[in-house]
């Protein structure tokens, strides 16, 4: 094998993973950032291709050249042609980067340009990606894989099924997050599932179903000379059959004895040695709970979600070490980055337990089921650290930010023991009703070890109301992970009173370090967690950086992170927090981050002086504030404005508790957040808003809606899980909506507001300094209002706004920030129609689009906001409107992951991520952005189904253009007639209900259509079922789908003006200097 030497490399290309999507999320920002850091240390120039503008890795400090372009073979080859790197990293950008790399290798691009693939050789990757090859290789060394075989046709699948017997497990190759996998119970089911899976993948695996086997993972590292270690093992609480991304996971394993732990460890080393992995990989096992039988399920020859989790769980920087190994270093030569004295060739010893719980947002999808299985549906995760299982379980539940405070009283009335997103609460309910561990084990396959512990917590909680408030009870409750809030409810008092009681008796959480070596060697870093299983807090080392910068003052800032990634809050806020922390450190403050999301860069322990991997609840933030302010006369402030809504929600309470908060006063934040107060404020400033009212009964709602006229926007109270925003077009619609969601009551009022049709939506992101506008950026949405701003396509600078509108927006913005005396970041959303503007909402915090506007304008809004919040006087004029280029931010959807979900855009957000690309004009930027989300330019036929007369008229010119570009056009009944009358040749297809050929399904499955435009008319229930069938099939068949009229118009005009070859390959600094 030819060895790599770092000093032989001058420029290395790193592929990112693009937008966050289900199965591929923030963990790759962490791994890519670490790789870039490792390269930088070696003095190697770095080129990054990643269109995800909200990431930390696409910041100036990390990579030398950044291309906001699609991570696909075409664009990456163009970048290679231009940049001529001599090495490439494929394993830090998830499955997207890996697949792109494999395709480029197949096209012999690396050979052509003389590029060395760093890390695991392509050949080894191919083995791990092809299930058949993989099974063969493992058989060679006598390592067991699940019995089964591979099929490329449904018939072949049935034959295998006959041999193995049912139930079976079906998996498809080349998949991220187990797409197209599932348990199959019968021949009929197999036919259905196999034909579906074979649409997305050329090959499927059909395997023995290992019912109730444990699922165990190891993270393994190997260098090029064969030194190897397992950094962490993890055990899924859920048995095999629930995707590991959907499982609750603990580290280290809890139910394995020494023999099992080390048997699987030895197998892991044997397998990676045989496969020749260089760097990091992950190996998944099934383990029979009745004996020591095992199967190797798969190997991921790249950094993965699990490796990010393992890094955070152990403190071992897996991605960084993998990158160093890829550059030719060997493990014994690398240092442990926590102790700075011991070797990186070691296996972390944990003296705590870690739990990961996934976060789902299935209620955001119309038609999604709560059941979980072998496909990944979760959108994020949290990790809790503690010293008992009950402690970490209850911590993690609160970290999820789903208004669940513990195991019971969560309003879960479903008692079916199916694997659902709520299973843990269902199990708790069953224990509360006196069920036993054996029965629940039989039904769920969750190891009794976990069930006993859950039962203990439930029994304690059940007994709480019969207890007296004593030190013993409180201490025991805290050790079991109960919140002050639950204790307050049980003892019929206030949370504050419990806190006072605790502090009086010294029942406070203690600070412990994560040091990778279970206290055998001292840690030089401050990676911290809090636990009630401890007598003493550890000494927290002062940061050397702070000491050198702040000689005269001891100022500290605690930045609150954003918690788990979820729909509406993800990596963009991590960028904001990390950027803020960097500025704070530059300014000489001791900087502390609290966050609980293992997929983030903000939870890297070298980003700040101290990292508390902790809950973002008021209770825990207070605990940390107390600890940090306890030592002498220190000035400690909270920073709540960069982690999205989670920290912002704590503002008023923290203020009332007397904590110092940087930036805009929480009293003013409340004036913006409180709908009534904000409305009065707008009235006072004579700024228009859509009429609205908060209503407590259906009758009230109906009469208000009648008064303002339909359509109306319905916003249920956020405390109800499963409640979603909606638009009602008629009284029947409204009644139905309020009734089905049981969404209205005196306790939970509903807000109705006028839904303005045909209006443009405009956002202003900015920083205000003592009520004066310091910097702002105006972005325009492509889609008209009615599409959630998180799902909208944004254009910066705006291309189609009237100057008058811009002027009015600026003026309204100035008035508002003056009135609220804002010092810090803000975001205002406006509606504009016929030169009139209305305010939708104001956020007194950094918004989702802060990284976008910062990176597009080249002015770091977060850095400026942080300085303003620190009281620094900043002056200057920032040019953000008149730019020589255009940037487009486009949403990334993951509808293919959520079976049955309707992919139509609505007022509720459903995108899981975003990308942004630059261009010399709107068309170029838009096409690049769209392609970055996986969109492929159509080549063959286009399917049109346009509801409503106005929509049809609007689409006419575009249909003409499409026909002119030579596409074959297919259309459903009315659209067909309309186009025909207008002289556009098209083929009629029949709705399923018409039972005629060619049907919609025929055409979509025929492979003749590669783009479908389905525009449904607002409020028309007729034809909705037909529309749903079209849309869902497009998603399931991988056909590009557009459901919004303005997007369709922009797409067609862009496709008319630009071809693929016209799209420029320009790096970020070529646009923004």
């Amino acid at each position: 094998m030819n060895k790599i030497r770092a000093d032989a490399l001058k420029k290395v290309l790193v592929l990112g993973s693009g937008a966050l999507k289900i199965g591929e999320a923030g963990e790759f920002d962490y791994s890519g950032s670490q790789a870039l850091k490792a390269l930088k240390e070696e003095g190697i120039k770095t080129v990054l291709v990643n269109p995800n503008i909200a990431t930390i890795q696409t910041s100036k400090e990390l990579a030398d050249k950044i291309y906001f372009l699609p991570v696909n073979p075409y664009f990456v080859e163009q970048v290679i042609k231009k940049e001529k790197p001599d090495g490439i990293f494929l394993s830090f950008g998830g499955q997207t980067a890996l697949n792109c790399g494999l395709a480029l290798d197949k096209l012999r691009v690396f050979k052509k340009y003389g590029i060395k693939v760093l890390g695991t050789p392509v050949k080894s990757i191919e083995i791990t990606e092809d299930r058949e090859l993989f099974a063969k290789e493992l058989n060679k060394i006598g390592v067991k894989v699940p019995k089964g075989s591979f099929a490329t046709t449904v018939d072949a699948a049935l034959k295998i099924g006959e041999n193995l017997g049912y139930p079976l497990l079906l998996r498809s190759g080349f998949s991220l997050g187990g797409l197209g996998s599932g348990v199959v119970n019968s021949k009929e089911e197999l036919i259905k599932v196999a034909s579906n899976a074979l649409h997305n993948a050329p090959q499927i695996a059909i395997e023995e179903y290992l019912k109730h086997w444990k699922e165990i993972e190891y993270e393994v590292v190997r260098d090029q000379v064969g030194n190897k270690i397992t950094v962490c093992n993890m055990e899924n609480l859920d048995p095999l059959g629930v995707h590991t991304g959907e499982s609750i996971v603990v580290a280290p394993s809890q139910t394995l004895n020494n023999y099992q732990y080390h048997m699987l460890r030895r197998l892991a080393l044997q397998v990676i040695e045989h496969l020749g992995i260089v760097g990091e990989c992950n190996i998944q096992y099934a383990l029979n709970p009745e004996n020591n039988d095992y199967r190797v399920i798969e190997v991921n020859a790249r950094l993965s979600r699990s490796s990010a989790l393992a890094s955070k769980a152990t403190g071992y920087p897996l991605a960084y070490v993998a990158a160093k190994i890829g550059l030719g270093h060997n493990l014994p030569d690398l240092k442990n980055t926590v102790t700075l004295s011991t070797s990186a060739f070691f296996e972390p010893a944990l003296d705590y337990i870690v739990i990961k719980i996934p976060r789902w947002d299935l209620q955001k999808f119309v038609g999604a089921k709560q059941q979980i299985g072998s496909e990944m549906k979760s959108v994020g995760e949290v990790m809790a650290i503690g010293r008992s299982f009950p402690e970490v379980l209850q911590k993690a539940i609160r970290m999820l930010e789903t208004n669940q405070d513990g195991l019971l009283s969560n309003g879960i009335d479903d008692t079916k023991l199916l694997p659902t997103t709520q299973r843990i609460f269902v199990i708790a309910q069953r224990f509360a009703k006196g069920e036993n561990v054996e029965d629940i084990y039989e039904a769920t396959g969750i190891d009794p070890w976990f069930l006993y512990q859950i039962k203990e917590v439930v029994e304690f909680e059940n007994q709480l109301p019969n207890q007296k408030l004593t030190q013993d009870v409180v201490l025991r409750a805290k050790k079991l992970g109960f919140s002050d809030k639950i204790l307050a409810e049980a003892f019929k008092t206030q949370e504050d009173e419990i806190r006072k009681f605790r502090k009086k008796w010294g029942i406070t959480p203690k600070v412990k370090h994560i040091d990778t070596l279970a206290a055998e060697y001292p840690a030089k870093t401050n990676y911290l967690y809090l636990t009630y299983h401890g007598e003493e807090s550890e000494e927290i080392r002062d940061s050397s950086i702070v000491n050198s910068l702040t000689k005269n003052e001891q100022r500290k800032a605690i930045v609150l992170g954003s918690g788990p990634y979820r729909i509406g809050s993800s990596v963009e806020f991590d960028w904001c927090c990390v950027t803020c922390a960097q500025t704070l450190r530059e300014k000489g403050l001791e900087t502390i981050i609290i966050n609980c999301n293992p997929e983030t860069v903000s939870t890297d322990y070298d980003i700040t002086d101290k990292l508390y991997f902790e809950q973002l609840t008021f209770e825990r933030v207070s605990d940390i504030y107390d600890i940090e302010s306890s030592k002498g006369q220190q000035d400690v402030s909270l920073v709540l404005g960069f982690g999205g809504q989670t920290p912002n929600n704590l503002a008023l309470r923290a203020y009332k508790a007397g904590y110092k908060i940087l930036g805009t006063s929480p009293v003013d934040i409340d004036r913006a957040e409180d709908r009534h107060k904000f409305s009065d404020l707008l009235d006072k400033l004579k700024i228009d808003q859509a009429p609205w009212q908060s209503l407590k009964t259906v009758d009230e709602a109906l009469s208000f809606a009648k008064k303002i006229g339909y359509p109306v926007l319905i916003r249920p109270s956020y405390v109800l899980s499963g409640s979603a925003m909606n638009v009602a077009y008629s009284s029947a619609d409204l009644k139905k909506n309020l009734k089905t969601a049981k969404a209205i009551s005196s306790e939970y009022p509903v807000v109705l507001s006028k839904f303005v049709e045909g209006a443009k939506e405009i956002e202003v992101d900015g920083v205000s300094q003592k009520g004066e506008l310091l910097i702002y950026a105006i972005s325009e949405h492509v889609e008209n209002a009615g599409v959630h701003s998180g799902d909208a396509t944004m254009v910066l600078p705006p291309q189609r706004l009237y100057l008058e509108t811009v002027r009015k927006i600026k003026s309204a913005t100035r008035k508002i920030i003056k009135e609220l005396n804002i010092s810090g970041p803000f975001n205002i959303q406006f509606l504009a129609k016929e030169n009139k503007i209305m305010v939708i909402e104001l956020n007194l915090r950094a918004s989702r689009s802060f990284p976008f506007v910062s990176k597009v304008t080249g002015k770091n809004f977060v850095d400026l906001a942080t300085k303003v919040m620190l009281g620094e006087e900043i002056s200057g004029i920032f040019k953000t409107l008149d730019l020589d280029y255009v940037a487009v931010k486009a949403p990334q959807f993951s509808f293919n992951r959520i079976k049955g979900a309707d992919p139509r855009l609505r007022v509720e957000m459903s995108s899981t991520g975003e990308v942004a690309c630059f261009g010399d004009d709107l068309a170029e930027a838009y096409l690049k952005a769209l392609m970055s989300t996986g969109f492929k330019l159509p080549k063959k036929g286009i399917f049109l189904s346009i509801g409503g007369k106005k929509n049809k008229l609007d689409m006419l010119i575009n249909a003409k253009k499409l026909a002119g570009l030579g596409f074959k056009i297919y259309a459903t009944e009315h659209t067909h007639e309309f186009l025909k009358e207008s002289g556009i040749k098209n083929t009629r297809v029949y709705k399923i209900s018409e039972k005629k050929q060619p049907s919609v399904l025929n055409i979509l499955t025929s492979g003749k259509v590669d783009l479908a435009i389905n525009i449904s008319e607002g409020g028309s229930p007729e034809g909705e079922t037909a529309g749903y069938i079209i849309r869902r099939n497009c998603i399931d068949l991988g056909i590009a789908l557009v459901t919004n009229l303005q997007s369709a118009e922009l797409l067609v005009s862009a496709m008319t003006s630009k071809k693929l070859e016209d799209l420029e390959i320009k790096s970020w600094d070529e646009y923004v200097s």
């Binding site: 280290p252 060739f345 279970a518 007598e535």
Partner: protein, 365 residues
């Protein structure tokens, strides 16, 4: 029932009793392994020690039947942990850890801040300690004064005497490999050996003759091809007879392999010196580098003393070193078949990475 652990510097840790309600004393040491408490508790190298496990959840998989243990009984004087799990779940579990400890008369505490205790031991070095179980008024640490003087007389120090007679076999035992009689025979000098050393040799087709710690192999009335010096507790310098016997074995050029205490004894027999480490190496994640091959492996370790490489003559070379602190982890004679490692290639608990060393030794026979 509550209990307290008092260290020789006077520090007190309080906890809840979950073992036998008796008092004990010994050297307090910590182990960072995350699995393997049945193996550790029965490891004779822990004789005379109170073991602190840094992993905070102990008892998870109960206790298996005797054939899985490393010796016939629990060897530690006491056990200190953070959280005890009394609801184990494992197909091999026969009883709970608490039941086992009670049956064997070993006291144990849970609810102790084991991380704080470990940091104490790391910073101060290992200390002697006393474990007292009683339901007295053990509510506050400050009530205990002058602990040092109170405990000095009654505390047990396993390094102050030769402890091998307490852990070694009393008579000669012969073990056949699974496939019938082996062609080669190894004399295992039992200084408190772990069962898995015997199993590891047998698995390689070697017949094993286990002899007491003070047995002189040169006086044996049976044939053998090699000598093995096992692991064991205490200060190696206390094992004077064993050192003298091994010296004779080396003089005869008999292939000799030592593990842990065996390595230290080999070093002393070769005229070298050993010293006490501040807090030892006890865990399953200890990285060592083979200086011959430059390959690194992860090893299981349990030792408080180490070989002083500088004290050995030029005939010996350093075979393995610890990648964390550079201490010696193995020695090898430059031309004679003498080798020894400080770590545990037999694992149990711990990784099997070094198992190949048994193959290397068997080849020398």
């Amino acid at each position: 029932m509550r209990g307290k652990l008092t260290l020789s510097d006077g520090t007190v840790f309080l906890g809840e009793s979950f073992g036998s309600e008796v008092n004990a004393s010994g050297e307090v040491v910590f182990n960072t392994g995350m699995v393997g408490y049945p193996e550790s508790l029965t490891d004779p190298s822990y004789f005379g020690q109170i073991l602190v496990l840094t992993y905070p959840l102990i008892g998870n998989y109960g206790v298996p039947e005797k054939k899985f243990w490393e010796s016939k009984k629990i060897q530690v004087k006491g056990l200190i942990i953070q959280n005890y799990i009394d609801t184990p779940s494992h197909f091999e579990s026969e009883r709970t850890l608490s039941d086992w400890l009670k049956a064997e008369g070993i006291p144990a505490l849970y609810g102790v801040d084991t991380r704080a205790l470990t940091i104490k031991l790391r910073e101060h070095g290992v200390m002697l300690g006393q474990l007292r179980i009683d339901n007295g008024q053990l509510t506050s640490k400050t009530q205990i004064s002058n602990v040092k003087s109170q405990m000095s007389n009654e505390i047990y120090d396993p390094n102050a005497e030769n402890v091998l007679p307490f852990v070694s076999t009393e008579e000669i035992e012969v073990f056949d490999p699974p496939a019938g009689r082996g062609k080669k025979n190894v004399v295992v000098i039992d200084c408190g050996d772990k069962e898995n050393i015997i199993r590891s040799l047998l698995r390689r087709g070697v017949e094993v003759t286990k002899v007491p710690w003070d047995f002189n192999p040169l006086a044996a009335d049976f044939k053998y091809n090699g000598v093995f010096v096992s692991n064991g507790p205490g200060d190696p310098k206390m094992a004077k007879e064993t050192i003298a016997n091994v010296k004779k074995v080396l003089a005869k050029n008999i292939p000799t392999f030592g593990i842990c205490l065996g390595s230290q004894i080999l070093c002393l027999a070769a005229g070298g010196n050993t010293y006490k480490l501040k807090f030892g190496h006890r865990g399953q994640n200890q990285p060592v580098l083979n200086k011959e091959t430059n390959q690194a492996i992860i090893t299981s370790q349990n030792h408080g003393f180490a070989v002083d490489m500088k004290s050995l003559s030029g005939d010996w070379k350093e075979w393995f070193i610890n990648l964390n602190d550079g201490t010696n982890e193995g020695i090898k004679h430059k031309d004679k078949p003498f080798l020894a490692v400080q770590f545990h290639p037999e694992a149990n608990p711990g990784p099997f990475d070094a198992g190949y060393l048994f193959d290397e030794y068997v080849k020398l026979l």
